[in-house]
Each structure stands twice: as C-alpha cells, then as structure tokens.
Symmetry: C2
Subunit: 423 residues, 2 copies
C-alpha cells in the first residue's frame, strides 16, 4: 500500500514539475483566462459544491468536531460569494512574474537587477477550510506555480467538488490540468511523500493546527512556509485614547473566534488599568455575553467576579474561543517582554497616542505584523490587498505574515552585459 | 562528551539569542563603530593572522589537500587587504534595518507597509576560506543579527586568530561579544546541535562541498540557505558577436578555478560551432596551456586531438579545475533543456545579439543569476555591490544567488491605524 502511495505521489510530483515549466512561461492573459474559466465553472456548480459541503458538515456533526473547526469547514452561500470575489480579485491583481526591478550599472559595466519568477511547485497541506482549495489554486496559477493540494479529510467532499471545477476549467483554457492537483486519498503516507520529494516540490505550505504543522516541519525535507499559532496581543498604553481603544479591543476579540489574528491576551498599563478595564470588560461582555475573562491578580482586584484567575498556560494559549486573558503590566517594556516570551510572532498591537512609544513598539516587537491603534483582525490577505492569502507565515525567512502572490515567487538576478569580463 | 558539546552549544545559542536582541536595537552608528574597530584590530594583528594562516597552509600541504581547497585556504597579504576593503564596504553600505517601505492606505483606513528587520541568529558552517569568517561576521553585525560561526578544521588557526580580533573589538565598542561566536571545537557533534537548535537559531548558511551541504540540509531543523554546486554554463548563440564572446568565454573559464561562478560547460550553437570552437579553444589554451577540453562528438569532430571525449558525468560535474566540457547544441531551446537538466541553477549565460532570444533565455532559465553577454564570474557579492556575500544561494525561497545584507533580513508588516476596526 505505502509503495503504491509513494508511486502515486512521485507521479503527481513529476506531473506538477512538468506543468510548472508551462505555468512559468504562461502569459498573463492566459493565466487570467484560466482563472475566469474557473470562476464560471464554480458558479455553474454552486449547488453541487454546497451540497458536498453539507455532506462534510453532516459528517462533522456526527464526529462531534469542535465549533471552531465546524466554523472553518462551513461553506455558506455568502462565503461561496466571498470565494468567487477573492478569485476575481486575484484576476485583477498585477501579474508579479517577469517584473524587472532595480536595473543599475555596476562599475564593471554590467547592468544588474532582479527578475521575479515563480518558485516552481508548491505543496499545500491544510485542514478544514474548503475555500483554501480555491485560494491556494488561484494564487498558484496567477504566480506561475504548479500546486499539489492536500486538504483535510473532514472537507474531503467539498475539496473534491471544487477541484473538479478547477481542473476542468484549466483543461478547457489550455493550461496543463496538472497545474492544480488535489490528492484524492486521505492516507497520511501521501503527506509524508509530499514533504520529502525535494526533486519535485519547491516549497510546502501547511495550514492547520499546531500539532499538524509541527509534525510537518519536523519531517519535511522541502522548505516549509509555516504558520504556527496566532497568540495575538493588544497592549493598551497609559497614553491610549479610550475612544479608539475600546472599539479596537472589542473588535480584536469578538469579531470572529476561529481566526488566527484574533486577540487572545489583552495587556493593560497599570496607570490606566482601574479606569480602562471595567469599560473594556463591559464593552466586551456587551458584544458577547458568553465571553470568559481570565485575569492576573491585579486584573482580578479590579474586575472582581467578572474575571477568573489566569495561570501560566493562559498566556501561552491560542483559545480560538470566546475567552480572553488579561494582564496588567507596569509599562511598555514589560508588555514587550511578555509578548516576546509568550507570543507566537503573529500579530501584536499597541494602542497609544505617544509617538516615541509607538515607534519603539513597532521596532522592538518581533512579530509578522505589528500595529498601532488598529484591530489585529486586519492581519489578513484580503485586508492587506493581497487578493487572497495562501497562509499567514510565522517564519522569519522568505515571507512573514499573510502570504499572497509575492510569497510564491522569488527574485533571480539578471545581468545585461555588452561583452564585459571580470578584471 | 556529546552531552557536554550539547551543553556548550545550548549556551552559545542562548548567548547568541540574548545578543541578537541588543543587535536588533543597535543604532547604525554603533554597528559601524564596531565594524571600524574590528578593521583596526585586524590591521594591528595582520602578521599574527597571516602567520596563523601559514600554519594552516603547512598543515594542509602535509595532509595533501587538493589545489582548489588550498587556493581557498590561502590568505595572502593582497587577500587580507581585500578582506579589509570588504569590511570597509560593509561599513559604508546603507543600514537596511528599520527601512520602512510601501506604506499605503487600505480601503479600511489603515495605512499598511513593511519594515525591514534582522532574522535574529544566523548559524554559519563553512569550509576552508578564512575570509568568510570576517565577511559573515561583518554582514551579520551590520544587519543586526547575531552569528555563530563554524569554520573548517583546515582553517582552524586562521579563523581563531580572526575571531579573537572581532570579539575584542565588539567588546571595546560596547556591543555584546556574543554577537559573533566562533565554535572552538572541531567535533562534528557541534554542527549537529547548531542545525537543530530551532529555539535559538533562525537560519543556517552552510558553505562548502556538496557533500557537507547535502548532509546539513538533510539533518537541519533550522531553515537552511544553501549553496550546492556551481555548474555554470555559457551558451554561444549563432547570433553571438565573436569579438565579445571569445573574451567572455576565456574569462568565465580561466579567471579562477576554485570559484563556484566559473564556467564548467560551454554550449555552442551548431550553426557557428565550426567557426567559433577553434577560435575559442585557441584563446582558452593561450590563457592556460594546461586546460583540458572534453567535448561531445560534434566538438571532437571539429577540434580533433585538442579535445577528449566527454561522457554523461562531465555534464554534471563542477570541476573547480582547468577542465572545460563542450557541447554543440541544435538551438537555444536545446541549450536551455541541457541547462535545466544538468545545471545547478547557479549562473548561466547567453551570448547573443538577438533581442528575442536574449529575452527568452532570461525568462526561461531558472537559475539564481542569468546573464546576457557577460562573464559568469560576475555572480559575486562584491561585483553585485552587496559589499560582501554570506554565500551564494541555489535555493529558490528567501534569497537566490549572492546573499548579502538583505538576505539576512526579512520584512514584517506594519500598520499605522487611527482607531480602525474590521467590519
């Protein structure tokens, strides 16, 4: 069995590699035509796809999957529209491939610059969100990459239905069908192959739970753009404007729970904690009366029975649920130290009107997104104008934060010479 | 023993991580002052360092190391001057850290852009070139990274002498000494630790033989910016200008043999092979009468006894020696196919006056550097104006080709808000 999985994956890999050469050379208009055809095919199959998703949802309920996962899995008609809108956005994005920048003469006489090129073959491993199938495929096509997709077993029917549309549209628009391949087995050995086929795959993008990603990073031989957890902080400085801060805190925590850019810990400067925390707690509870607040001792002293005691594990946890950890800190440096110690380098926010502190926080917090006076929920490919995102990277090399088109490309050096030799 | 190595490496790692925070916040003037102090310390110890290198050279001769390796190991007074000039170049480079670019308003009202930040801790594993110790250290300091260096045992005395100067200069200029640490054991277990300490090390840059790098890539858990071999090609098109092409071919092959950007295979369009090859062969033999030419059947038919028969392995080999493989190809597509099949995606060159072919070669050859009408020897950090290079990457993600300051940084997203929440 494993031998046949290996054989199957080698075949997928070779097909992807061959397809990637055609994709790398494909003209912008041909890639856009393929994306348009995919949109039409999906619209034509809307009912089929939603029905497939209902089947996955039903199976999920029977398996008693948790609510965050079920939220990710669900494909409503609105979300389907959102998917198509995202696809349309990707069409209208500027094709990054072939972009030549920074051409300048060197003292030797050569003219040196950079050209943006696809990575080649992308391997994508994800869990429950079926819209990832389309997002990842459309970004791969637009950026001239072939992609091999491995979605979660809980979204199997949704993903297969979406994949069917993508492949038929690719075929009808003259691009290789193998530019987008969806692995049609849930056998885990397929993942093991995918992440070690360095001869075929140029980069692996895993999306899902921390356990999955840690396992993949451990076993991969192909470079991984990984997204670990999103333990996001908002630090409310003593120079914060409450009128801006309360709505931001409410939005960052209650806008959506199953997303990685949701605030999990609120840090509050001790000089304003007594004034700010009751206002913030009331506003948050008003937005969601099911919210559970867990605080440090100082927070408990201020909020009384509105809050339970937080322990060490609360500072480390990505709840993905209506739970908020709250800690009172002595100053901004203490907030930064807390973020550096417990954060996941995803998205961290300072709320302040103080210029120097805003600047220092920006420079010193080593996270993929660092924000001043805004909700962490903005850390998202659509909000960042990337069209769609293939993931949110918590890595430090290559791409940080939301990864869109550019994260699936790299720049090679190009030289325009006129007979130059090295002295 | 291995346990004590592990303990030693964990200590180095923790020290590097602590130092990296100070480095990330260090002002440009403080980093430059440290680099200046290092230059002064090296100049003051010139004789000591050259003497240490002589000891390494003597040991190398006794161990009968091959000529390419001995060439890399040797530190002449001229090369020492080159090292100091490189260090001075790094001082005068613009500090990339803190650079804010692309700030633009999004429809939501947030202003989004990017800030350039250090990677954190770099682990560098290299072989014989002692000048790499200084290059890597100076690029790490300037880019706000801490670095842990592991040089080859053959350059042990040279590296320790250089490292001593660097650390004393760091100390005297107020930056943490642990910003640059040189592992002072040749025990291989130290490398095993270095490349798996994901809690301390953010990126590994190995430089050396293919075997070393393959081994490191296989075992590493930290992301690797790797440089495999440099099997560089020059394709002479039938529209090439011979007056430009002959000097380029001679330069690309004979300028220096132990370097990865040296041409190893010459590809010649069949329509001009009869005319071009005898001229090229004479010019190359004139530059180095020890050159050995190995050709395909068509080349043998043209060059007769000036050439021996090339076999499959010649197309795959980075000689690092006065040997040149020559192949006659039917057209540019055949040249590109050959390069894609046998090349190492390092540096490949087309010599042509034809605009469309030049453009197509540039777009279709998937190498870190692709050149028109210039010598592949230009693929180098100094020639590219990077100040010095930490390596030449043959990877596709993060950084391709010569890796200088920017390769040791990444960009995080920053958001200037004014109370925005996500709708």
């Amino acid at each position: 069995m494993t031998e046949s999985i290996k054989q199957m994956m080698q075949t997928l890999g070779q097909q992807a590699k061959d397809a990637s050469r055609a994709l790398a050379r494909a003209a912008t208009k041909d890639k856009n035509a393929a994306l348009k055809a995919i949109g039409e095919a999906l619209e034509a199959s809307r009912d089929t796809i939603l029905k497939a998703n209902q089947q996955d949802m039903q199976n999920g309920r029977e398996k008693d999957l948790d609510s965050a996962l079920m939220d990710r899995l669900e494909l409503t008609s609105d979300r389907f529209d959102g998917m198509l809108a995202g696809l349309s956005d990707v069409q209208s994005l500027t094709d990054p491939i072939g972009e030549i920048t920074d051409m300048a003469y060197r003292p030797s006489g050569i003219q040196l610059g950079k050209m943006r090129v696809p990575l080649g073959v992308v391997g994508m491993i994800y869990e429950s969100r079926p819209n990832v199938t389309l997002e990842a495929a459309s970004l791969a096509i637009k950026s001239g990459n072939a992609i091999i997709l491995r979605g979660g077993s809980e979204a199997f029917h949704s993903n297969q239905a979406i994949a069917k549309c993508i492949q038929s549209a690719l075929e009808s628009s003259g691009l290789p069908k193998a530019a987008v391949q969806v692995i049609d087995t849930t056998d885990r050995a397929a993942v093991g192959e995918l992440i070690t086929m360095t001869e075929f795959v140029d980069v692996i993008v895993p999306r899902g739970g921390k356990g999955l990603i840690a396992r993949i990073s451990e076993d991969a031989r192909v470079p991984v753009i990984k997204h670990l957890d999103g333990n996001c902080h908002t630090y409310v400085d003593d120079k914060a404007d409450f009128d801006k801060s309360i709505p931001i805190v409410v939005n960052a925590k209650t806008h959506r729970y199953g997303t990685c850019n949701t605030m999990e810990t609120l840090l509050v400067h001790e000089a304003i904690a007594k004034e700010f925390l009751p206002l913030a707690a009331d506003a948050i509870m008003k937005a969601d009366s099911n919210m559970e607040l867990r605080g440090c001792e100082q927070t408990q002293a201020i909020l009384g029975d509105k809050v339970t005691a937080a322990d060490e594990s609360d500072w480390e946890t990505e709840y993905l649920a209506p739970i908020l950890a709250i800690k009172v800190v002595s100053d901004m440096e203490a907030a930064i130290d807390h973020i550096n110690q417990y954060g996941s380098q995803h998205t961290d926010v300072i709320l302040t009107e103080d210029y120097t502190r805003a600047h220092a926080f920006l420079a010193q917090v080593d996270s993929a997104s660092v924000m001043i006076n805004a909700s962490s929920r903005f850390a998202d490919g659509f909000e960042y104008g990337l069209g769609a995102e293939i993931g949110i990277s918590t890595d430090k090399i290559h791409a940080r934060g939301p990864v869109g088109l550019h994260g699936l490309t790299s720049q090679k050096w190009i030289v325009f010479g006129n007979g130059e030799t090295r002295a």
